[in-house]
C-alpha cells in the first residue's frame, strides 16, 4: 500500500508522533480497522527509547498519544532503537 493513500487518522497520529519524538528515525502508523480509525498499529524507532524497558517505551507512546487514544478502541505498539 503506498504512502499516498494514508488515511486522515494515520496522518494525524504520525504528525503527533513526529512532534513528540523529534529524534525518531522511523515512524509507521497503520489503521488496522479497515480505515475506521478504531484501531492502529504503530511502529516507531527512536534513540529516545534507548536503555528503556519495553513497557516504558510503550508508556512513552501512550502518553504522546493520550488525546488520540481517547477515540480509539485499541492500538498495537512496536518500539525499537536504531542499530
Amino acid at each position: 500500500r503506498s504512502f499516498s493513500s494514508q488515511t486522515d487518522g494515520e496522518a494525524r497520529v504520525t504528525r503527533v508522533l513526529r512532534e513528540k519524538f523529534p529524534r525518531a528515525s522511523a515512524i509507521k502508523v497503520v489503521d488496522i480497522s479497515g480505515g475506521c480509525g478504531a484501531m492502529y498499529e504503530i511502529h516507531i524507532e527512536s534513540e529516545e527509547f534507548r536503555e528503556k524497558r519495553t513497557v516504558q517505551q510503550h508508556q512513552m507512546v501512550n502518553q504522546a498519544l493520550s488525546e488520540e487514544i481517547k477515540t480509539m478502541h485499541g492500538l498495537r505498539i512496536f518500539t525499537s532503537t536504531p542499530k
Partner: protein
C-alpha cells in the same frame, strides 16, 4: 507467531470486531468513579488482585472463552509455556475493575499482564517476550518452569 496462535488470533479478533466496541476515552478520564471508597476498581482493590498470585491477567472473557483476539493471544502464550495456574479477571464482568485497572497501571488497554504484582505489559509485549526468550526467564524468576524448556530438551534428544 505460530500458525495455531495466528488462527486463534483471527477468530478472537473477528469476534471482537463483530461486537459494538467502546472507545478508550475513559482510559484518560479523571472522574471515572472507580477510584477510592473500596470499590472493585479502587487502587486498594486492584493492588490486592495483582498481588494475589505470581501470574495475574486482566482480560476480556475467560481463559476458557476469551472474548477478544488480544486477550486470547495472552491465554495461548501462557498455555504454550505450560502456565495454566494463574488468576484471570474478566473486565467485561466488572466495569469498575475495567476502569480501575487502567488507572492503576496508567495503561489504556486490556489485556494487562502482571508478574509478581508488577505490570509487565499487554499482548504485544508478552508476545515479544515469548519470541525473544524473556518470558522463559521471567517465569523462572517466579519459580515457574516453562514447558518450552522441556520441549527443547525433547528435541535435543532426537
Amino acid at each position: 507467531m505460530s500458525a495455531a496462535l495466528r488462527a486463534a488470533w483471527r477468530v478472537g479478533a473477528a469476534a471482537a470486531r463483530g461486537r459494538a466496541g467502546r472507545a478508550l476515552s475513559q482510559a484518560a478520564s479523571e472522574s471515572g468513579g472507580a477510584e477510592g471508597g473500596g470499590g472493585s476498581g479502587s487502587r486498594e482493590a486492584v493492588e490486592r488482585l495483582v498481588r494475589a498470585h505470581p501470574v495475574v491477567v486482566f482480560m476480556k472473557g475467560s481463559p476458557e472463552q476469551p472474548l477478544c483476539g488480544f486477550s486470547n493471544a495472552v491465554v495461548q502464550i501462557l498455555r504454550l509455556h505450560g502456565v495454566e495456574d494463574y488468576r484471570a479477571h474478566d473486565v467485561l464482568q466488572d466495569p469498575d475493575l475495567r476502569q480501575g485497572i487502567k488507572n492503576y497501571s496508567n495503561w489504556p488497554t486490556i489485556p494487562q499482564v502482571y508478574l509478581n504484582g508488577e505490570f509487565v505489559g499487554g499482548c504485544d509485549i508478552l508476545l515479544q517476550m515469548h519470541q525473544n526468550g524473556d518470558l522463559v526467564e521471567e517465569l523462572k524468576k517466579l519459580g515457574i518452569r516453562s514447558a518450552l524448556l522441556d520441549a527443547e530438551k525433547d528435541q535435543d534428544k532426537k
